[in-house]
């Protein structure tokens, strides 16, 4: 398990990452979200031991990251780059050797990865001969080689066509099922909804959201439920307003009402329903809402961040 506890990193007296704490469990895909300049890259660089935190700890399976534990992390940085004049297979095998594989193992695994991403015929070509998308896949392979237990992917979908996006999703699923932990940093909220179990959002270096993706989406859905029914609802006890959208009815509840109470009231009224669910807000809307509302968090309003710490999460 990867545990980040109270990590702080400052530049020129300004906290770029400020008391961030979270956990990522084996076999889960975890999203690291935040607007540009939120401190995501700095946080990732500390997890990969490229940068050292000013305070706080980053622990992998009970021991600090760094040293030999670095080899258990595969990283696809947002700033992509490869040795342009080296051959594709040779480049991958080099990264494999740096991760502790023997020359033979590295070459074998590099070949298998190229086969998996449909680039075997480019194995002996120089990297500079490959298209941007192909280079992106080779770069992904540099993160995958050595079968790391933690995979950190920064904007992995950018520059990929739909077929390769699907291929990447398959690979992530394979790795997740094999027990790897995937930490995904992306601005594509639909991908987070599709792939991720839990998410952390930081803004101005502070934590502003932390929890399961579904729970986050529900939390920001204005205390509402969605009902699919042919019946015309006029007045339901505990419901403040009723709106129709896409064939469903969105029932916004009064502050003291509960979804269970509203369900009971609907059944008592004899309303026939095809579905009854807690309303959720698209993650993209949550993102925009939090970023807009979250202004000023770096000016001392740390309540939002505190409310999202693992301890606060556990209390809920």
């Amino acid at each position: 398990m990867l545990e980040i506890r109270d990590v702080v990193k400052s530049y020129d007296g300004r906290a770029v990452v400020n008391r961030v704490s979270f956990e990522v469990h084996p076999g889960e895909i975890f999203a690291l979200l935040g607007p540009n300049g939120a401190g995501k890259t700095t946080l990732i660089r500390m997890i990969t031991d490229i940068l050292r935190p000013d305070s706080g700890t980053i622990v992998l399976d009970g021991a600090p990251v760094g040293g030999e534990r670095k080899r258990q992390i595969g990283y696809l940085p947002e700033e992509r780059g490869l040795y342009r004049r080296s051959r594709t297979l040779e480049t991958l095998a080099y990264f494999g050797q740096l991760k502790g594989l023997s020359a033979r193992e590295a070459a074998r695994e590099a070949g298998a990865l190229l086969e998996r991403v449909d680039l075997m015929e480019w194995a002996q070509k120089q990297v500079q001969a490959l298209s941007k998308g192909m280079q992106q896949k080779v770069q992904l392979c540099t993160a995958l080689i050595g079968t790391p237990r933690i995979l950190i992917l920064d904007e992995p979908f950018s520059g990929l066509d739909p077929i390769n996006v699907q291929l990447l999703e398959e690979i992530l699923d394979e790795r997740r099922r094999a027990g790897a932990t995937v930490l995904l940093s992306t601005h594509q909220m639909n991908k987070v909804e599709e792939l991720c179990d839990r998410a952390l959002m930081i803004h101005h270096g502070l934590m502003v959201l932390y929890g399961s993706v579904e729970e986050i989406r529900r939390r920001y859905a204005d205390h509402a439920i969605t009902v699919r029914t042919a019946a015309a609802l006029d007045r339901v006890p505990g419901v403040r307003s009723i709106e129709r959208s896409d064939g469903d009815l969105k029932l916004t509840l009064e502050a003291e009402a509960t979804p269970r109470g509203v369900l009971r009231a609907l059944l008592e009224q004899g309303v026939e329903m095809d579905s009854f669910a807690l309303a959720t807000l698209p993650l993209e809307d949550v993102f925009i809402k939090v970023v807009r509302e979250g202004r000023g968090l770096d000016h001392g309003q740390s309540g939002g961040a505190d409310a999202a710490t693992p301890a606060a999460e556990a209390r809920r």
Binding site: I50, K70, Y75, P77, G81, L82, F95, L98
Partner: protein, 429 residues
Amino acid sequence: MNFSWPRVTTIARREFLATVRRKAFVFTAIGTPAYFAFVMFLSVGPQVKETVKVLESFKSLGVVDSSGLFGTARPTIDSSIRFDENPFSKDVSVQEFRTEVRFFASEAAAESALRALEITQVLVIPADYLETGRLRRYARTSSLFSGADRRAISTWLVQGLVEPRAGTVTAARAARPTADVALYTLDSEGQFELKDDRRELVDLLLPLAFAMLLGMTITVGGQYLLQGVAEEKESRIMESLLCTVSSEELLGGKLIGLGSAGLLLIVLWAAMGLPFVGTAGMVMNLRLPPSLLALVVAYFLLGYLFYASLMTGIGSVASSMREAQQFSVWFTFANFAPLIMLALILSNPGSPLAVGLSLFPVTAGTTMMLRLTASTPTVTGLQLALSLSLLAASAVLALVASARVFRIGLLMYGKTPRLPEILRWARRG
């Protein structure tokens, strides 16, 4: 500090192979000696040929002697060129030439003969030659690159003036009074040693060769490092690498791999020049004591570590390859500065300037090579110890500082940090 030798050797091997497999490396390895050989061939070959051509075409000299001093002078001028096919060969080949001397009663007659191609040149000796030394020479053309014909005429004039009064032998000596002089100088053991032309050549070339080789080895390795770091920074690969290896491992691997590539280049150049150098060494009875070779190795290792660390620092803070090279040129220039002051250092290897340069880390290696191999060695044990200590301390400081700058600078894209910022990284990391 996280440091694993297997990873360092993996990085070193990759850096070495990636460098030596480049077309530019192969071209430099073969092209540079070929270029110098070509330039030598172009400059030395034609010069010798021109001298031969001038003397071969100098068949006859028309003399108009108004002074009456040369009435009994020789009717021929005998010249010779002593030259070696290999300048360090023991075999000396000599080519001889003869010029006929014809006397003319008037300048007009001599001029007509010159125009009619009956003679090659005309020498007019005025009546007051003894007092004024003035002469006039007429020729159809003259050579820009050889004065062999003038030297031949000079010999004839000396013989003409001296022979009637002092005899043939004295005249020959007067014509070339120091043609065969033996010079003895004190050697390093305090004994007088014959210092012939070849020995003089060694006294100049040996220090120059050692200083050049040391300077070039250090510079080439350091420049490879500069290029490697700047290119990797430009290609944005650093973040992927630093996630897997520590900055110390990356820097160590680069220092070893690219230093080896630079060393290989120099070894290849030396191997290409080996037949020439080997012959020279045998002919000149070169004595290179093991202590000197040990010092060469020590200065190479420390000098390379110092220079390469500086280049790493520059490569990691510069935002592009071009900018990195602009910064590095000053250090490269400093490394070779002692060669610009070659004459000053070799003429007085114990001067304050020479001692100062051999203590200053940037110029220590090349200056010490010049001083240690100079014909009159003046390096004291204290100076040597001080020079090596200062260089070692500077190399360690530069390495530590550049490792700190390297780790931070590599991840800064598109912006060159200011000097105070770089100094802060170097101090605190």
